[in-house]
Symmetry: C2
Subunit: 784 residues, 2 copies
Amino acid sequence: MMDYSIGKGNYENWILGENNFSSLHLGKTETVMLLGNGYMGLRSANEEPYLSERRNLFINGTFNQADKNEVVELPNAADATRLDILIDGERFSLEFGETENYSKQLNIKDAELIRSFSWTSPEGKKLQFRFSRFVSFAHSHLIGMKMELKCLSGAVDVSIESGINAQMTNSGVQHFLEGDRRIWEDRFIQLVQTTTQSGIDFVHNTVHTLKLNDEEITAEANKYMERRKVWMSYKFRIEQGDNFELEKLTTVHTSRDKESDHEHYSLAEMQEQSLRELKDFDKKGYERLRESHRLAWQENVWDAYGFEVESENPDDQLAIHFSLYHLTAMTPAHDDRMGVGAKALSGEAYKGHSFWDTEIFILPFFIYSNPDTARSLLQYRYHGLPGARQKAAEQGYIGAMFPWEMAWPTDGEVTPEWGDIDIVTGERTKIWAGLIEHHLSADIAFAIYQYVNVTGDEEFLEQYGYVMVFETARFWASRFEWNEERERYEITDVIGPDEYKEHVSNNAFTNYMAYFNLMLAMRYAEKLEKENPELWKSLVRQGDHADWQSKAERLYLPEPRNEDLVLPQDDTYLELREIDLDKYKKQTKARTIYRDYNPEQINGIQVTKQADIILLFFLMEQTFLKDDPRFSKEAKRANFFYYEARTLHDSSLSLSTHAIAASEIGARELAYSLFRKTCEIDMGQNMHSSDDGIHAAAIGGIWKAAVFGFAGVRQTDGRLMINPRLPKEWGRMQFSIYWKGEPLRLDITKNMLKISAGSEKAVQVETAGNVHEFEHSIEITLTD
Amino acid sequence: MMDYSIGKGNYENWILGENNFSSLHLGKTETVMLLGNGYMGLRSANEEPYLSERRNLFINGTFNQADKNEVVELPNAADATRLDILIDGERFSLEFGETENYSKQLNIKDAELIRSFSWTSPEGKKLQFRFSRFVSFAHSHLIGMKMELKCLSGAVDVSIESGINAQMTNSGVQHFLEGDRRIWEDRFIQLVQTTTQSGIDFVHNTVHTLKLNDEEITAEANKYMERRKVWMSYKFRIEQGDNFELEKLTTVHTSRDKESDHEHYSLAEMQEQSLRELKDFDKKGYERLRESHRLAWQENVWDAYGFEVESENPDDQLAIHFSLYHLTAMTPAHDDRMGVGAKALSGEAYKGHSFWDTEIFILPFFIYSNPDTARSLLQYRYHGLPGARQKAAEQGYIGAMFPWEMAWPTDGEVTPEWGDIDIVTGERTKIWAGLIEHHLSADIAFAIYQYVNVTGDEEFLEQYGYVMVFETARFWASRFEWNEERERYEITDVIGPDEYKEHVSNNAFTNYMAYFNLMLAMRYAEKLEKENPELWKSLVRQGDHADWQSKAERLYLPEPRNEDLVLPQDDTYLELREIDLDKYKKQTKARTIYRDYNPEQINGIQVTKQADIILLFFLMEQTFLKDDPRFSKEAKRANFFYYEARTLHDSSLSLSTHAIAASEIGARELAYSLFRKTCEIDMGQNMHSSDDGIHAAAIGGIWKAAVFGFAGVRQTDGRLMINPRLPKEWGRMQFSIYWKGEPLRLDITKNMLKISAGSEKAVQVETAGNVHEFEHSIEITLTD
């Protein structure tokens, strides 16, 4: 069971805990307690090994394609976390013996993993264990580990095997060629390996320090080496009452690191420099390194975002911390050649690839809270332009059609062409998303527009943004199909956000987003022509504008039904049969409906996998299309209830959008309940839901539901709107955002909204239609 | 602990047992209880998984080179032996709960692995388990498994996950591309994979049958598939007293199988045919398949070799069974393109490569007991001729220089160039054997000579043998170096059998074996010229004979020391310093001397790793050089005591040769003790000595020590000599051999030797210098 009530005092609502051990539930804490710093993500597998563990270390951006049958993915790097421990010759494992006072905790505030318990071996030896671990936020290459051992029942002989193991695979797939392995000065272990196809060198270093009652000791230490593995074996005896400590400092560097990008930085130099760095770390020692790591989190994350919630349910504050923690751990803020994977750095699933999850679910947090990182993530897409152009060309279009799945920017489309083989028919399942799920290109245009509107970063627009918007507009213009009979452009044979429906036509989300993309391109072209005619000339071709105009004007944009204002999700959705969805709405496991219906049948039912029309409403209201009567308040309300009843939230990308929409229409109880469900995707008591990795989009969704939903923050076509609608459980929420580069502090209670600005620059916000302009701060009374 | 006293009645001295479980000692029974049929070898890892297990399935001859940094090796094929079992939701493992009446046994007679015990789960559920398994000797592609379960303490819910798992690696190295995976008719699982470099397709099939109280049942069966893995999950309930059975039949076929060699046998056909075959097996069922397997062993092995020993120590008979069992299991009698690896098919070590172990330690058994298989193994070398010619050419020689390590015949030399990196200096260790251990080419010539002398197989000689002897002779003639000063040919800078000594000159073993090779070539050339002048013309070049003659005459052959008849192992050995070797003679672990001396120091000490001079004496006495005074009885005796005192037997290739030599010189107690030590290399109580795999040469050595040592059987230049010297512990030994195609039955007691022939063909044997000619049988009185 997960236990969220452990944190006390300064750590109240900061501790994610597990209060009993089961080898059947290892995946949960491995994932939700992941340690990461954007450079790397380390699954929190226990030190002592278990059969069902998934011991993963992923280094952002180090993609490799193992062979022609495989899709490019993040390789599982060599492991240094495993410790094989013998107590008086018996293997130490929590699967046997007696374990008392067990606790495994992620201390979110300190970004530290701590595990403690006392264990009595089958032979009756009793010991107190404490393991701690961090992935440094101060030194991005560093992993610190510490084991403390106290003997409670007479002397014992202890044996510990620890080193670097490069026999790791991705479910049996080996991504590395074996390289040098050495032990320097009898202590410093170095192991090199190189990815098979992308040729990325990895240099792993590790060093151990042993202490008995705070004095450094040298135990009997033997050195071992076998294939892809090098390790030390320590043997020593501890007496009753002795405090034994093992500190292990590990670093990972790769030739993909930006600092190794300059010329003449050879593998040999990386080996030498990283070894020197480790020796420095070794001199500092675990505790000092941990302290600088802790301070880095405090300053750069907790103080910077300052997100406080007063709720009847203390798990809400914890969930906010959890969200900020993982958003920080997963995001490669240091390198604009890297994106965020759908499972972040916490599992093999989705192979580290970036989806639209980034733009729609993860990026909003960074746009408002950490614009530099948001910009880096958008620049990642910019670096992907050649691949996007290639994808468009391959499908017979022009402009840029962004890869549905993106890895290293220059890799282009990396969506697997074929999914698993149908277990019954033996035929491979075609994965259509890479071919016909097209909305991503418009989602990226939307994200650029939102980023620029919130930050006012015109430089970004000129350097990276315009070209992406123009290129995606060109793609759409070439993508539209003329329907001669109806005299309109259509977009047929696509997948919209509702992935239950394959090969639909005129998916409203896709059509409107494409329309938005064209309209945005025209607005940007006009603006650019005025502001920077030189750049305009180089980016906008003759005829572009006219083409976009003509296509946009004649694109079919689905109309709401007269009787109930319901916008049809696609050409046929509203005519499909309806079934009783109660059973599936209550599902606790994904894909429950597939037990009763096959994909073809589901295609014929009014059932939606995840927010589709509802997401469209949410995005449109932030744009210059917000006043379109099709997206009126009444339509919003009508569509929410229509589609919420038909949406199974069978994707972690769904609940947060519905939570925001529920909030907006004043359905506060429902909104809060949807917010809680969003939090519980990873934090819930389902001990298997996170086995394959964190749900990155849902993590972003927690922040979105709180800020866009409860705090009611929006940019609407460049204006800041704040219309808080706290749920009844929340007394107060405070957090910081940036608006046009200006830090704003928001303090919201049931009947008050206070906004403090960081400077004397005038800031304009709207609340419930009233425009407020202020300098230092403003306090607005809210009416419920 | 191993327990060899389990077998009773018909199974007395047939059961290899382990009587208590420890997860720290899994390697022992995995190896010594290996199941195999020459086509494949399956390590006897337990059904339920353990962290330290090595779950290996090797298919003979399916070599692959994973990447340019790796050496070609036998890949670890997909696994179908693992069963993941839950009892009332608790994982079943012998690492926890209570285990009673534990027994893991290899029933050698039936070639069946059986494991039984009762197990009480930590929650107190008590069950009786019995697992059995065989690798069919009747159908070489078939693995049969059975699990029997009886609930002793009220009803329990059982869950079993079982399928085919191709996530297996060789210590992290993946040798396969992923292929098709299917489930047919909800039962028949098929998984295809293909080796990455050699392109060998593997087709794995499996099917389960579930029975409750002897009635077939269909439990709740779910199908699962993930990367490189497909499996079924069965859930059912058993009541107290119920007998549950799970039978699992698995087959493996590869595109390297001979039967798939003909044209138009596509992968699709292999898939289809192997599936059809599995359906036939499924109809027959486990018990009938097991029975035909059992009969195949009885007829082809136990009845054929009929090796019986009456000893005070019953382990002696068991050891003989053990030796015959493994010799049969490891040897690819079905395919002359395949050899026997140094660890046979029982571990990753030595990568499935063939060394001189085959010719000198394994082949003798087959030459005398199963000449067809002996011929197949020699033909394997014949297929290696192109690689041997290439190796000679690469080193600047002519003729054929056989690869020190040989894999697929056309691969040529596959000895790794570099060994592990020196853990301290960080420098790679050069592996010299592939470059300078040259005696193998002469060892092969010797093996051909011995095979032909024992079998009289002139056809083999004409088709395969002559050319190998001539080509190796050519190699030696080109290899010799002329010493101008001493006016003789020498062989400098080699490694002899004593691998403690690298870069020695005139290693006596190498020089004499090379000399023998040349002399044999001349004898064969003369014989061939007379018997088949056509073939002679095509095989022997002008000048060959003269060159061989001149080189042989002037080759330096080390002379025994006048004072004590000791033959110098090489140019410097007898001048090296001597140290007290007592400590190392008593070693229980390999390489103990390396703890005190480094390789350079060992090079300077009169210490020998393994039989070198003593082996030379043993080989020479079987040849036309037997009457050379340098190999006189006195010299034999003197050298035995000199070198035995200096030999650490730090290789599993050593003890059996010394056992034979001790026997020959009448040191019966020592001979018996060395025989026991030979047996204990794998059968001893050291629970880690076999972790990396069986010691194939030592397995052959058990047979050699008994037959060449105690029974005193020899071919000496084509004559059969039998001079039994039973140890005092042995009352009688009986076994069958072939002599010139004639089956002979030998029955030996302390004072009698009875030989029965299979027909009325006259047979000639020598005993203690007396020549006996007989037809049906002969009884000879022995004097001690």
